[in-house]
Symmetry: C2
Subunit: 213 residues, 2 copies
């Protein structure tokens, strides 16, 4: 077994991305649950700049920032590739993975804001989903084509977390009638056995997010 | 000559990164100056999601987002590598390049804010520089070691733009006494002939930034 440890939390979408990628590569690793209200000395040592999860520790060396960890995983373990070989297609996959990163806080807005600010956040959220539907997914099954890839893993939280947030707030953003292809993608994504087996428990997730709300 | 066009502006630090990378690779390309107050139809077609510069068009195919363009350049033209071969060292370089991206707006804060908000922005700016000095640069000449690499190209705007902003506002963040290694790095960076030959004119830059201020 590789000397591979992941500091994170199953309830963090950024940690889940890394879990999914490691599992898709068929790797065994130790998962160390971090309490973000009482950060461990090891986490502070491994990620002195951001002090955040996830951190992947491979042979004692820490790699931080989920998008950078995904690239590291792809390069270190080339089996079951997450990125296409062609540099242009690779750039497109990276674009949507980065889009997922850059827009996550905005898409979260409708969950934390109220009144007029929430209305604005809903519009911004819909615009993000529209971009994913029209420019990202097109007619493909997954963002990278016929099989799951880096962009799907990066965007995967939309398939699971968004639905929980929507239920708590009572606002539906990702409606099947408005975004049929993206809606179908969330089902295709969650049907992959490795994803299905590595999602947080929905009831626990609901309880945690309700208390945050 | 490659069919290579760059839509951007020499006064945009995100465009300059791409220019530097292309020049460091020894590539010839056509630079198409975009007027961001009157965006061209071509720019809107190439980057429908963000409608922003820079856009690199290679053989008619557009690549957007400067950090993704840099990866594309590195993969398509491997000569004069910007990234190390080792996946771990590569992850470290990518971390600082991403740090440059993620922190650019925060570091810009002292230039656009006033009063207490500016004071806060100054403290945040100093924290960014401290992280670069202590955790990023260490005792190395460049962020990647002895030669210029991806992180240096990503962070390069600090070596040129920051000084212009500081002069306009009358606040010095990057003081030699506080950040001796980072200060030296800015000089090492600007002394590289390809960088020196591909910087915007300082007086023009000053005039543009003064009008924005």
């Amino acid at each position: 077994m590789e000397d591979l440890k992941l500091h994170g939390s199953i309830f963090s979408p950024f940690t889940c991305r890394v879990i999914w990628a490691l599992k898709l590569k068929g790797l065994n690793f130790e998962c160390i649950e971090e309490d973000m209200t009482n950060k461990s000395d090891l986490l502070l040592k491994y990620n002195p700049v951001y002090k955040k999860i996830p951190v992947l520790v491979h042979g004692g060396k820490p790699i931080v920032e989920s998008s950078i960890i995904l690239e590291y995983i792809e390069e270190t373990w080339p089996q079951n590739p997450l990125l296409p070989v062609d540099p242009y297609e690779k750039a497109v996959a990276r674009f949507w993975s980065k889009f997922a990163d850059d827009k996550s806080l905005t898409l979260y807005g409708f969950f934390v804001k109220v009144g007029e600010e929430q209305e604005k956040a809903v519009q911004e959220g819909l615009e993000i989903l529209r971009n994913l539907e029209e420019h990202g997914l097109g007619d493909k099954k997954f963002f990278g084509g016929e099989t799951i890839g880096l962009a799907d893993v990066g965007l995967g939280w939309i398939a699971f977390w968004l639905d929980v947030l929507e239920e708590i707030v009572g606002i539906k953003l990702l409606e099947e009638s408005k975004f049929p292809r993206l809606f179908e993608w969330t089902n295709n994504f969650k049907e992959i056995s490795i994803i299905k087996e590595n999602l947080p428990d929905r009831d626990e997730m609901m309880a945690i997010m309700k208390s945050r709300h």
